[in-house]
Subunit: 577 residues, 2 copies
């Protein structure tokens, strides 16, 4: 802040000068003391100058609405919403979000630092204040090809950027606990830069958790049980309670919130698809759930504001007090937390569910054209099996954890798999798309329910190669080709014809369209998956498939390098004993 | 931290390597969740590696004692204890203090940055971790001569020192509220350095408090009422609840502590003399008071540990958790908080009230010989009054705030004041000692109760010129001369003879001896003040006198430049209308 602005802010606080804006007639929520006072909020250069009785030439009447600090989502992957930073701002701000802590793990896996820079640039075009964590695990595992490798040396430069406030979720917790050299180097890079490190440690307890905490891991958003939550808090790790489109941990974890430990508890989305945002909202939804589950509104609001600001050391926000950013949410009440108006840095940016600013988009050229597939042809999908007994990836309910199954299949004279309509087993392939290795790994998937045609995605965690599944090699091939032609995204093919598609030209993982477009497209895709391809309604065709390559979640996954047994931590042959 | 230490800490957490020390069999206090677990604490290179079940070649059995995080005094002036940093460590650590936030306002007023550097150097010789705030108001007012002027430009360099974590109490709150240029420059200097600013805003409310908070003032330790406390917390200002030798605000303020606002409440001493420390303790005494007043022990402990660490952004401490400093206090119980053993950075440094390390002292040469008095003689104490009616400084109960009184006095033929044994009015003089200005200001004091002789001090807030009071010019003169000869401190003179004295060679405000020596000396001085000089027991002879020059506390005070009416904010004549 400049001295002139400081001087003006003091003058405005004292009513010696007019405020840029006075929000009059608020029930001002004081998250420090959990009390509410009736008053006005005077704003000077985007900062709160005073709370009390103010007037001036520029006023907005809050009409007695509650004034809460802007909400802070403590952990979100923007890419999981399939939209860009500019668009996520348009979607989230009307729900009361004024700050999000985003981990651009997906785009950086595809585009490296170029992807990071694109996200930083795009964030400048939204009122939402997006703070980034630099992805810590790119690639997520050494068992796949991603678009980039970010080692400790590559972290030094981006960690200097003040918009990057730390290292993203350190998924390689086994590496940290083992004190693996490359992981220690990354931790040291963050420490040397004075930055935080987000955690990711599902079901890690005891000495392992001590080790993880000793390594300066600051948060965890992977708690699913009160037991996990309590042990993390005791070890000094903040717990980010997750309520996303895929994972719904909040209700469970709220049982573990106490008056004593609540300051170490935050709220986060992790993943939040446009459909969820448009139907349920964002942190306003978290707050509704908190209150419904018996948390008092002040404690809930603190988890969405002050606690997050403290955890992430964002000292210029988290409350309504002089000298802080004028990030303010006007709420009709503290039951359903209906958002009336949202101010960011003192500017009215959303009202009654609508974002009020134009959505300008930065040039996404540098992260377009991210497909570098070498020599792909139908031939690469052929198998040459020596016997009928094979390993299959078994889809399990939930769609992320898989089983390692075996099956007897039919082969043709070349040893290739022959699809049997009586059995729900189909080919699945991962086509490397970043480095032009020409890698194509083929395996078999059971339980996806597809009757005819093929589905291909360029969203395939975490390296986002192309994943394709189908009943015929020709449809699978056509799906891959057309997916590349449309610059990635999602495609459904049947008998050589595209049945439905959503292009995602940005890194092959984000649409350049609106959240509403994404939602409508997904609805059409889900319908076509059912009506055209016969995929059963019990399987989410996109989400399920995009996790089939995530080689850190048990038990059997497929990367571009082959079939990977996560439990054994090694590649295995498709042929079973 | 180096990578090797990180690696070792992780290995110790996992029990792959032996801890440097295991404190076994503790009731480990988890200040994050307010719970207690039975276990061991494993230490690696001064840091906590793990809490749980550990063993190793080096263990200490806590015998089931409570293990609390080390206590943090959030605001203290070491000089007010009349001892050096090395000695304050010896006194405070056995009481459980492992960190103090010290504002060396007094020595810097005398010696400038040289004084700051001496304090920094001396702090290296104690186990106590002393974090400093750079004094913000040197001199405290423009109405006196101090030993240094620290403007914003002079702050830039010291603010780079990582042991200096901010600007000390910004006493010139009228300047901040008025947005005075020189004060804004100081605030900007702190902000540019990314450092905090401590506050000092007694009885400031409403828009003035908004303005003060808007200026990024972070704390206040001057609250005396719940009303002050609540308004500060609401404005984002941390409240440091004071219990010192002079001010006892804690009991009052504890009435304002709630489960919601307690995280914004800390404990501090401000001033704590050796007598108080030796008789009552330090933060252990604060904790006893908290519990006696109905605060639950966990909340009390958080105010002494985690809250202070958070407030002052000392992320490496404040709890017992992996990756934090092994600053640990073993307590017999949570009622009287009797301190059994104290560990700082994993080293046992105090047990059963005794400091276990040798007290090495740094060279205090640079801050000795701080007396630069020009041309002082008895003649300078003479008055030449035109009439009998004069202003007198009236000592009021409490001894800090004074009254502006008038009196009819006797004069000799030269117009000089003649002491009347029937009236409790005596001469008081301030002798400038820093810059050799030759300034001597003489006035009259009522209510000190001295019957014969003189008292001189070189402790005279905040500039620490020489202040002297007495019934005869000759005793006053001798007292000043002998005070200079002994390098400052306290001296009592009667009929040309020194009756009692305590030299304070360090800046004229600190003894180079032990806390016990200081306490014994003060007892002898108090006895002699009563028995030899006839000062009534209702007046504290040293503390009362040393505040008579503090030109920021109403109503009438004497600086080396003259008699100052604090309410009118101007010098006035000794002669009354």
């Amino acid at each position: 802040m400049e001295k002139q602005k400081l001087e003006k802010m003091i003058d405005v606080a004292m009513s010696r000068k007019s405020a840029d804006l006075v929000i009059k007639n608020c029930k001002v929520i004081d998250v420090y003391s959990g009390t509410i006072s009736i008053g006005d909020i005077a704003i000077s250069d985007g900062m709160i100058a005073g709370v009390g009785t103010y007037d001036g030439p520029h006023t907005i009447d809050a009409g007695g609405a509650y004034a809460a600090p802007g909400f802070i989502d403590s952990h979100i992957h923007i890419e999981s919403s399939y939209v860009t930073p500019e668009e996520i701002g348009r979607l989230l701000v009307p729900c009361g979000a004024t700050t999000i802590i985003a981990d651009p793990h997906e785009i950086v896996n595809v585009c490296g630092i170029k992807g990071m820079n694109y996200m930083l640039d795009a964030s400048e075009e939204t009122a939402l204040d997006i703070k980034y964590m630099l992805p810590s695990c790119v690639p997520a595992t050494p068992f796949e090809h991603s678009g980039a490798v970010i080692d400790a040396a590559a972290m030094a430069e981006p960690l200097k950027d003040e918009r990057i406030i730390g290292l993203g979720e350190f998924m390689n917790y086994p590496g940290v606990i083992a004190a693996a050299d490359s992981d220690l180097d990354k931790i040291m890079a963050a420490k040397c830069a004075g930055k935080l490190i987000d955690g990711h440690s599902p079901r890690v307890f005891g000495k392992e958790l001590n080790a993880y905490a000793a390594a300066q891991i600051h948060t965890d958003h992977e708690c699913a049980t009160v037991e996990e939550m309590e042990e993390r808090i005791a070890r000094g790790i903040y717990v980010l309670m997750r309520q996303g489109s895929a994972c719904h941990d909040l209700v469970n974890l709220l049982k573990g919130v106490t008056p004593f430990n609540s300051r170490r508890c935050l709220l986060c989305s992790d993943d939040r698809q446009p459909k969820t945002i448009l139907e349920l909202g964002h942190l306003d939804d978290h707050l509704r759930i908190c209150v419904r589950e018996g948390i008092d509104p002040m404690t809930a609001l603190r988890m969405a504001t002050l606690n997050a600001a403290e955890c992430f050391r964002l000292y210029d926000r988290g409350a309504i007090a002089p000298g802080l950013r004028a990030d303010i949410v006007l709420l009709h009440n503290l039951d359903d937390f209906y958002v009336k108006q949202v101010f960011i840095k003192g500017r009215l940016v959303a009202a009654d569910g609508k974002y009020l600013l134009p959505v300008k988009r930065v040039d996404s050229g540098p992260v377009q054209n991210s497909f570098h597939v070498k020599d792909f042809s139908e031939n690469k999908l052929k198998l040459n099996l020596k016997g009928d007994k094979v390993h299959v990836i078994d889809i399990l309910p939930g769609g992320v954890v898989t089983g390692k199954g075996t099956a007897e299949i039919r082969r043709d004279s070349n040893g290739d798999f022959v699809h049997n309509p009586e059995e729900d087993i189909v080919k699945v392939a991962v086509v490397e798309r970043h480095q032009g290795t020409g890698n194509v790994a083929v395996s078999l998937l059971r339980g996806y329910g597809i009757k005819e045609g093929a589905v291909a995605l360029s969203i395939a965690h975490d390296s986002h190669n192309i994943i394709v599944v189908g009943t015929s090699d020709s449809d699978m091939t056509y799906a891959v080709e057309q997916l590349i032609a449309q610059n990635g995204g999602i495609i459904l093919v049947k008998r050589g014809e595209v049945k439905e598609a959503m292009p995602m030209p940005i890194g092959g993982i984000m649409s350049d369209q609106s959240g509403e477009y994404v939602e409508r497209s997904l609805i059409r895709i889900h319908e076509a998956a059912s009506s055209e391809l016969g995929i059963s309604d019990s399987v989410e065709p996109v989400m399920t498939l995009c996790f089939m390559s995530l080689a850190v979640i048990p038990e059997l996954k497929l990367t571009d390098m082959g079939l990977f047994d996560v439990t054994k931590f090694q590649f295995i042959s498709l042929e079973a004993e």
